[in-house]
Every structure is written in C-alpha cells, then in structure tokens.
C-alpha cells in the first residue's frame, strides 16, 4: 500500500452514497420552498423574511389541521397572518432585553428530530436557560460576517425537516415539555413521515401528521403551537449568539467537562475565563524518574490574582498558576555573559517549609541581557481593541497610557504602527519611526472607544503592516491590547490559531496584553500568545504597565532563546518522590524533550525563570507513596553506584532566536548544592510565593502552611526591592488572609 498524495486523496475518494431518504427530504424541502417563492413572486421580500414567513405559515397551518383548504386560499390567509406575526416578532426584538421574556411560553419548546439528538441536545440545553444570555448586556453581537449564517439558519429551520431514519416517532418521546431539564425531548411539530413524502401538498401533510405522531401524549393545543414557533425563532437566535461566543472563547473540548465542576472560590458572576487544570501530583521516582516541562515567562496570573485580592475576594482557583506567580518576581540568578550562551541555570537545595523531611529544589534560569547598543531594530504594530466595552478607565485609557510608556523604551529608528478594531478595522497610523514620537502619541490620543464589538479584518491588517515593514534580523511583533474580545476578524478558533502559527513561522510574533475584567479571556490570550511566540500579560494598573512594558520591555520584545524545555531525571538512589510546583499547563511528554518540532516557551532578554521541585529524599519518613511489594528496588541501586552525591540530572534544550535546531545544556543536581548566601533571600522569597500560590490554589500538599507563615517567610526575604513589588506581595498576603476570614 502506497502513501497517497493529498491531491490524489481529494480526487479519488468517492463520496459515500447519500441516504435515499436524505435525497427525498432535500427534494421535498426544496420543492416546498420553490412553491412558496413562486407564490409570493412580485411581493419583493427580503430573503430572511421570506424564510421566516414560511415558518410562520407552517405554524399557522399546523394550528388548523382539521380544515382542508386549497393551496391558494391558504397562502393568502397565511400571508396575512404572517405579516401580523412578523410585526410581533420585530416588536419583541425592539424591546429591551429584560422585558422580552414575557412572550415565552412557560417551557421552552425547541423542535428536535430524533436522529439529531446528539447535535441538538446542546441546542436544547442552551435553549433551556436562555435568560442567562438575555440578561447579560455585555454580550457582543456576532460579527457581520456571521450574520448571514444566522439568517440562513432561520431559513433552514423554516424548511420541513424529517427524521433521517424513517422510523416513526415513538409516543414515549412526547414527555411533558414542562420538565425543563437539559435532556428534554420535544416532539418535532414539523415532522414529515416518509410515506407522505410523495404528497403534492407537503405543507398540508405536515399539519395532518402532527396529531398521529403525538397520539400517545396530549396533543399540543393549536395556540401553543404558534407560540412555540415564535419561541423557536427567538431561541434559535439567542443560541446562535451564545454559541458564537462559546465557540470563540470556550475551553478546549477536553477540559470542558472539568471546567463545569463547581469551583468553590469562584465568584460566579465573573465572566473571566480560565482554563481548568489539576495540580501536579506527587510522583514516585521508581515509577517515573523523568519530569519534563516547558518554561513559562507569563505573569498574567499574578496580576489577575492581585486584582481580585485588591477587590477583597479570593481569585477563582483556575486563575492561579503558581509558576506565573513565582516568575512575576525578578531573582538574582547568575546570568550568562554572552548572547551565544543565552542563559545559565542555577540549582539550589533547601528544606521545605511546608513539608517536614522534604526538600525544595530551585532551578533558576536567568536570560542574558541584551545591551542597548546591540538591540535589534523593532517593527512594532499595536493592535488595539476600541470596542465599546473598552470604555472604562482601566481599559482603553490604561492601554493608551501603557503604549506611551513603551515608546520611551524604543530606539528612534524603531517603528510603530497602530491598527484598531471594533465595528470596523482600520489603520490609524502607518509605520512611523519613534523619532517622530509626537505623531505616534497624537494617534494614540485620538483613539475613542465606541461601536459594537463586531470583528473585522483587524488582525490580518496588523500582520499585513508588520510584513510590509518587515525587518530582517529585527524584531517584528504585534502587540494586541484587548479586554477579551478576540473577534479580531477571524472568527474560527482553529483558523485564528493556525493563522498566528503561520505568521510566527514567517517571523512575526504576537504578544497579548489583557485589560479590564469580567470579560477577560485568559485561556484565549494564553493560547494566542503561546502560538505566536509571545507573552501574555495582564495589565491592571499603570504600575503593572510600567513593569511589563518598560522594565521588562527588552524581555518581552527581544527573545534570546526559544522553545526552552527542561527535563530532570531523578536519582532513585537518593530521591524517593518528587512533585513539580506549578507548570501544570506546561508539562511535556518525555519524548517531546528531544523533538524539536514540539513548541515550548521562550526566554526574553534578562528574563528570570524559576521552577521548584519538592522532593522526598530516600530514607525520609515523609513519603506519601508506599514501596511496591514486588518492585525491584536493588536494580536501581546498581545503576547509580558512584552517583549517590546527586539528586538528579538537569537537562535544558533551547534554540537560539533564529535557530532551527535545539542545543542541549546539562548539569548534575548535587545533594550538597545548598543555597549560596547571595541567593538566600531569593530562594526564600520565591518559596513564600510558591506557598502562597498553592494556598490560593487549594493545594493538598502544603500541610499546615497558612497565610501567616507565608507572610513571615516573605517578610524576611524582601531584600533589595527597588520597585516595591515584593512589598506589594506582603500586602496581598494580608488581603488574602482577610478575604478568607470573611
């Protein structure tokens, strides 16, 4: 068997033959539509309305099943009725959302064909709770491009739909619709039986068919039927909007069921979205001696946690990523001297403050600091969300301020362009050298929030500009500032991800700055930034903007090493168990380490990355996992003779910014590594942050540790704190203590 080319596959894979019933159904539906269209010729209706008309016509007729009428007669009556009902529908839509619900019958009625249950079950469950969407005024409208789809859906629903399998509907499915449970099944009021397919008046056939199919259950009263139709129109549209939002921002499919589990600390009214993850478990070295993960230099989690704590509430657990909290702070790990060896790794060993008999392994990486004279040229495109939802002091105005701060860090020859998106995307400023700062500042100041959040070509335009102005050997980066509406023109989530990935291969990278709250889509920001070789940061204050965009500007702009992966192999002779603190969303498979195709995190100029392992040395009685009765304990010992002085072996793989092949760094982790005096405070402080993060996360591995202990530990380790970040951390611990007390 030979491998087939994709062209061949497309060309020579014959379509699976369609179900003959499907063909009949399609024919029937099309003929009905044809008759309807031609009956109305000359009345010049907009297509969407005619679709709606058909539905309402159908409803009207279904309500009078007993009276046989001629097709023409019925049509005239139908049109008259339909006009009235359309007016009613329009009125409903002009009404403020809060008052709209009264047209709803007590239980939502959604038509559902038996064979479509799998797909439509979602629709039904969405329909079962429509008020939630209704009540939310911040719901962005779908972009103009999806509007036809909505219309078309209405149109499609207007066509009679018969079951795919020609089995008659069992009476049992006519369960009382009042049970508004998600698995509610409602009789399809428009069901056509295949045996009636040949009828020359298909619509009349429907109406007569309703009664027998629902014979086992009380037949729906005629008036309710009309109400049901109305309802479906409304519900359909709502669920469209809802599904549009959902699909754009929803968690990855696999995490969805977990995400629906109640998070005890999460304030349910918050609209911020975080990807759910489970904390890393304790692992037994004998079973799984190798631990692999990707570096993470994001800090968004810390800023978000801070914001919630400043508001007096504990953050939702999924918002807490311990590694991002640790990495928020700068640590004085020794750094490398040249760009050729982009960073150095430091390993320290200390006692665990929350686990007696356990040790903490700190692995600290400090990126080489690019000197300003050797800084590459920067081609920066700012992509700003100026939709109405950005009209809050901590959103667009803060973004504008932040961007101005960033300007100060750039060289006069660097260029900045500005693209905005909202109702329409547009270029506000062509690539302009920073030397002409005045112009850039003016352009920034001219931005006004407004318009709907309907997406446009924003992201494409930004990339186009970046490519047009591409600096070879320079930094080409898009900086996206948003409050969470990533409807930047490409609405298909996979397409957007694919788009960002392709642009990354061309050398244009993407970083995401998040602003504001309630609408913040952390999961999406992370995905995009990770796929675009960029950083995701959350900006809640001007101070934070200064930290991210000024003090760390070189780190966020200049990548010194990409796809940085860490792998630790523990020595079973000295370590019984280990646990990686944080990095849950960054774990890699063991084989990914040597696979250069697997993407990983990047380290920027001067970035510090810290990872902490908690280990249980052999012989400690703090072990959580018992030895295996049938394990071969002495086999391991034989291999490790002469290496008893090592806890393990650290390997780091990375690529240089323009490199394609990875390089390897390795060093043993010595049992007697200890903590050098110069690093004592940093180790202590990062340990305190790790403890704090785990407490917020609800970790089960922190023993009796409490916020007071964290405070104590951190207070003694503030050290030199020029910008007051560590002092601020102490405040946060206190606030967490208060929030928990409430």
């Amino acid at each position: 068997m030979r491998a087939r080319s994709f062209e061949d596959l497309l060309r020579h894979t014959p379509p699976l033959p369609p179900d003959p019933h499907a063909r009949l159904r399609a024919r029937q539906a099309a003929l009905a539509e044809f008759e309807r269209v031609h009956a109305q010729t000359g009345e010049a209706r907009a297509p969407i309305e005619s679709g709606l008309f058909a539905k309402l016509l159908g409803a009207f007729r279904a309500g009078n099943p007993a009276r046989p009428v001629t097709s023409r007669h019925m049509l005239l009556r139908g049109i008259a009725t339909a006009c009235v009902v359309v007016v009613a529908v329009s009125t409903v839509w002009l009404m403020p959302p809060g008052q709209r619900q009264f047209v709803r019958p007590p239980a939502p009625i959604t038509t559902i064909s038996q064979d479509r249950q799998e797909g439509d079950a979602k629709l039904t469950s969405e329909a079962a709770q429509p008020l939630e969407t209704e009540g939310k005024t911040e719901v962005p409208n779908p972009p103009a491009t999806t509007q036809p789809a909505n219309e078309h859906k209405l149109r499609r629903d207007s066509a009679p739909r018969a079951p795919r399998t020609p089995t008659p509907l069992p009476a049992a499915t006519g369960s009382p619709p009042q049970q508004a449970a998600p698995e509610e099944v409602v009789v399809d009021a428009e069901r056509i039986h295949p045996q009636n397919m040949t009828s020359s008046a298909p619509i009349a056939a429907i109406s007569q068919d309703v009664a027998p199919s629902a014979a086992g259950a009380p037949p729906p009263p005629a008036s309710a039927s009309t109400g049901g139709e109305l309802e479906e129109v409304v519900v359909t549209r709502q669920s469209r909007v809802r599904s549009w939002i959902g699909s754009l921002f929803s968690h990855k499919e696999k995490s969805a069921p977990e995400a629906s589990a109640p998070a005890p600390q999460a304030p349910s009214e918050s609209g911020d979205k975080f990807q759910h993850f489970e904390i890393n478990p304790v692992k037994r070295v004998a079973d799984e001696p190798v631990s692999t993960f990707s570096v993470d230099v994001d800090t968004a989690s810390y800023s978000f946690v801070r914001r919630r704590l400043n508001e007096g509430v504990l953050p939702q657990m999924d918002a807490v990523r311990v590694e991002e909290m640790i990495n928020y702070f700068d640590y004085a790990w020794p750094t490398s001297e040249s760009a050729d060896q982009p960073f150095k790794a430091t390993v320290t060993v200390s006692d665990s403050p929350w686990g007696e008999g356990k040790k903490l392994l700190h692995i600290g990486i400090k990126g080489y600091e690019v000197q300003s004279r050797e800084r590459p040229d920067v081609n920066l495109v700012l992509l700003l969300d100026v939709s109405g939802s950005m009209d809050e002091p901590d959103k667009l105005p803060l973004a504008q301020q932040s961007m101005k701060l960033l300007l100060d860090t750039l060289k006069p020859t660097d260029t900045v362009a500005i693209v905005v998106y909202a109702g329409a995307a547009g270029q506000v400023l062509a690539p302009t050298p920073v030397a002409d700062k005045e112009t850039i500042v003016q352009a920034l100041d001219s931005l006004q929030p407004g318009g709907s959040t309907a997406g446009a070509e924003g992201i494409r335009l930004a990339y186009q500009l970046a490519e047009k102005n591409f600096r070879k050997n320079g930094v080409n980066r898009i900086l996206l500032a948003t409050d969470g509406d990533f409807n930047v023109g490409i609405t298909n989530r996979n397409q957007l991800k694919g788009f960002v990935e392709r642009e990354r291969e061309k050398g244009v990278y993407l970083s995401v700055l998040g602003f504001g709250e309630d609408n913040y889509r952390d999961d999406m920001a992370q995905t995009l930034a990770q796929n675009g070789n960029g950083v995701a940061a959350y900006i809640d204050t001007l101070n934070e903007a200064r930290k991210v965009l000024v003090q760390e500007s070189s780190a966020s702009l200049f990548t010194i090493a990409k796809d940085v992966k860490l792998q630790v192999e523990f020595n079973p002779a000295t370590v019984a168990e280990y646990r990686l603190v944080g990095y849950e969303t960054r774990t890699l498979n063991r084989e990914d380490f040597n696979n250069d195709k697997v993407d990983a995190g990047d380290v920027g100029s001067g970035h510090a990355v810290t990872a902490i392992y908690e280990i249980t040395p052999v012989g400690s009685n703090a072990k959580l996992i018992d030895d295996r009765r049938y394990g071969a304990a002495d086999k391991a010992a034989a291999d490790t003779s002469g290496k008893a002085g090592e806890y393990g072996f650290l390997k780091i793989r990375y690529k240089l910014p323009h490199g394609l092949r990875s390089r390897l760094m390795e060093q043993p982790i010595r049992v007697d590594a200890g903590v050098p005096a110069a690093l004592e405070k940093d180790v202590k402080f990062s340990t305190a942050v790790a403890g704090f993060g785990q407490l917020l996360r609800g970790s089960k591995y922190t023993g009796s540790l409490n916020f007071g202990d964290v405070m104590q530990e951190a207070r003694g380790a503030v050290g030199d704190d020029p910008y007051g970040y560590r002092a601020e951390f102490l405040q946060l611990v206190r606030k967490a203590q208060e929030a928990r007390g409430m």
């Binding site: 491998a3 080319s5 789809a149 078309h152």
Partner: protein, 179 residues
Amino acid sequence: MDDRHLTGLVRRAQSGDVASFGELLDLYYATIYRIAFKWCGHRANAEDIAQQSCIKLAGSLAQFRFQAAFTSWLYQLVISCAQDWQRSQRRHEHDALPENEPPAEAARPEDYIYLAQLLEQLDELGEGMKETALLVHGEGLSHAEAAGILGVSESTISWRVHAMRKHMTKREPLMSGGT
C-alpha cells in the same frame, strides 16, 4: 445532458414550473451532494448541506442569468451553503473524526478518516484553501474555472495550490501505508 434541454429546463423552472424544478433537482442532486461531501468528508453533514443547497436553489434560481455554466453557478451556491453551514456548526468545535460509516466499494475505510483530517488541515491553512482544493483537486477544474467560481484572480488560485502543496509535503505524510 444537452445544453438546450438544460436551458429550457432552467427557464421553465425560473418561470415557476414545479415539475421542471423537480427534474432539475433530480438531475443535480448527485452533483450537489458530491460537492458537499468533498467539502466536509462526512455523509450526514453532506446530506445537510445538500438539503440546504437545494432549498437555496429554489429561492435563487431566478437569479441565474445564463452568463456562466450552470454547474459553475451551482458550485458557487453549494460552497456558500457549506460555508454557512460550517459557521453555524462552529459551536460543536468538533475534534472528533466521523463515526464509522460503511465505506463505498472503491475506497478503503481509512480513506475517509484521512479525508476528514485533510479537510480539517486545509481549513486551518487559511481562508479559501479548502474551497480551492475542492474545486481544483477534488473536481478537477482548471485554475481559471476555480477562480471564476470563487471570485478571485487566477494567480490567487495558483498561489493557493502551490502553498497547499508546499505545506502538505512539509508535514508528516498524512497517510503512510505499508505498515
């Protein structure tokens, strides 16, 4: 079928003759369904798209002005229906491969899995790629014909075909037989 007959049929259908429209449907359902299937690689979905296309055909047949070949016009219609359908399905975010379906005689069952994977990859590759692949590779149209149907320039089609091939050869082979 001969052009005069088709033209007559379309004209009669345009003037409201149900029987002619029915005949037209009978003649072209297979084509419509084939395009739909090559678009999505899945039988039930293709049936859905085909049904919508037939309904749309009823409404918009009057707009056919005989300026292009009827089939070209039909391609346009089915593709636009398929795009609408895909947008409306987005909430499903399906990673899932199509359920096992009885394969046709000529193809191996795994081909349909490959096809579905391929279509998904093409989708991620960017806008217009799947449409181009469908017309050029799937239906064997020339670049010029595809350009006419999709409303882009011929060079765009050529570029897309080139980009697709480059991308596909760079990837791990989609299907490696012989193991």
